[in-house]
């Protein structure tokens, strides 16, 4: 059945594919081609029959498969039903949400002044911290320091503080 045995081989395939009258005519009058065609057709018929037999299953198998498909179909239907039921509710919620937002009282642009106030208080806080850090004496101990200053007659501390404050945020 090799190509050396039959030089007309492609014609057999063309006949099996069908609708080729020239090939049909040739094969009908060519003994080797007829033999080849019969052998190939026989093999293909056996192949088809064997595959159909191979794929055959018991009735239990088909019943079980049909039941599984039925179950999946029901699950799919239920999902679709839930989605179908929830969609209008979600749309309504969205609509209500948009409506509420649009109907809420208009907020005055006082929010713009808040940052300014905030900035001022931040600045004051920063200055206070700088003063506390730069002072040699903690605020809680200031009376003690004054007493010592009075005793020593020292005036150097206020002078140093003034120098530092010239570089501070108070400006």
């Amino acid at each position: 059945m090799s190509s050396e045995q039959n030089p007309h081989e492609p014609l057999v395939e063309r006949v099996l594919v069908g609708f080729d009258l020239t090939a049909e005519h040739h094969v009908a009058h060519c003994a080797p081609c007829q033999t080849e065609r019969q052998k190939l057709e026989e093999a293909l018929q056996q192949f088809g029959a064997a595959n159909r037999e191979y794929a055959s299953r018991s009735e239990d198998f088909w019943d079980k498969q049909a039941a599984q498909i039925q179950q999946k179909r029901r699950e799919s239907s239920n999902r679709a039903r839930v989605v179908g039921a929830l969609a209008p509710a979600l749309a309504m919620l969205l609509f209500v949400g948009v409506f509420l937002v649009s109907q809420s009282p208009h907020v005055e642009p006082s929010a713009q002044t808040v940052p300014a106030v905030q900035t001022d208080s931040d600045h004051e806080l920063l200055v206070a911290v700088e003063r506390a850090v730069e002072s040699d004496t903690p605020q809680a101990l200031a009376p003690v320091a004054w007493m010592e200053e009075e005793n020593d007659g020292s005036t150097s501390l206020p002078a140093r503080s003034n120098q530092k404050e010239s570089r501070s945020h108070e400006n």
Partner: protein, 190 residues
């Protein structure tokens, strides 16, 4: 291939009740399963994809316009599922490597109908079937699908074209090339 449900669906795309769809399943599940099994050689996957095929059909019934028969439409869904499955080569590779692949290597060769034939003739028939089976396995996906639909499902070329969404001329070309390959393998065996 036409049946009452098919024509009912085809004429007006009427809504199908659950009971009618279950009837469609019972009527066509064998052919869809057989097509997938011969295409994939994996009984488990064939079963899974058959179920998936009918589920998709159910979800898309409204898109069925009756231009082809219902069975052809179902086979088209099955062919698309099989093609997508074949594309997932990484999974197949790892399944094969780990021995989890349920593919049946011997295939249909052991299922040659014996009838009244002699043991010697049955043996020869098995050899032929095995050779055709192996040759079909080596065909490209589209050629294999055309070949199997023609010689296992015994479908007409126009039906194959409708099932695989091809022109009839393309079906002929695929079939011609498939036959050449199969015949070549068959010749080597003989």
């Amino acid at each position: 291939m036409e049946n009452a449900l098919t024509s009912a669906l085809g004429t007006a795309v009427q809504p199908v009740t659950a009971e009618e769809f279950d009837s469609i399943v019972r009527r066509h599940q064998r052919r869809v399963h057989r097509f997938l099994l011969t295409l994939l050689h994996d009984p488990d996957e064939a079963d899974n994809l058959t179920q998936e095929c009918f589920l998709r059909a159910y979800q898309n019934l409204r898109n069925f316009r009756g231009e082809s028969s219902l069975e052809t439409w179902l086979l088209r869904i099955a062919a698309n599922l099989a093609r997508d499955h074949a594309r997932n080569r990484k999974v197949s590779f790892w399944k094969r490597l780990l021995g989890m692949d349920g593919a049946d290597d011997d295939g249909a060769a052991q299922h040659v109908p014996s009838g009244q034939a002699s043991p010697e003739r049955i043996l020869l028939a098995r050899e032929d079937v095995r050779a055709v089976w192996n040759a079909a396995n080596q065909l490209p996906q589209q050629q294999r699908a055309v070949f199997l639909l023609r010689f296992v499902e015994e479908m007409e070329l126009s039906e194959i074209a409708a099932a695989l969404d091809l022109q009839v001329g393309s079906v002929k070309t695929h079939l011609f090339r498939a036959l050449q390959s199969v015949r070549s393998k068959l010749g080597d065996v003989r």
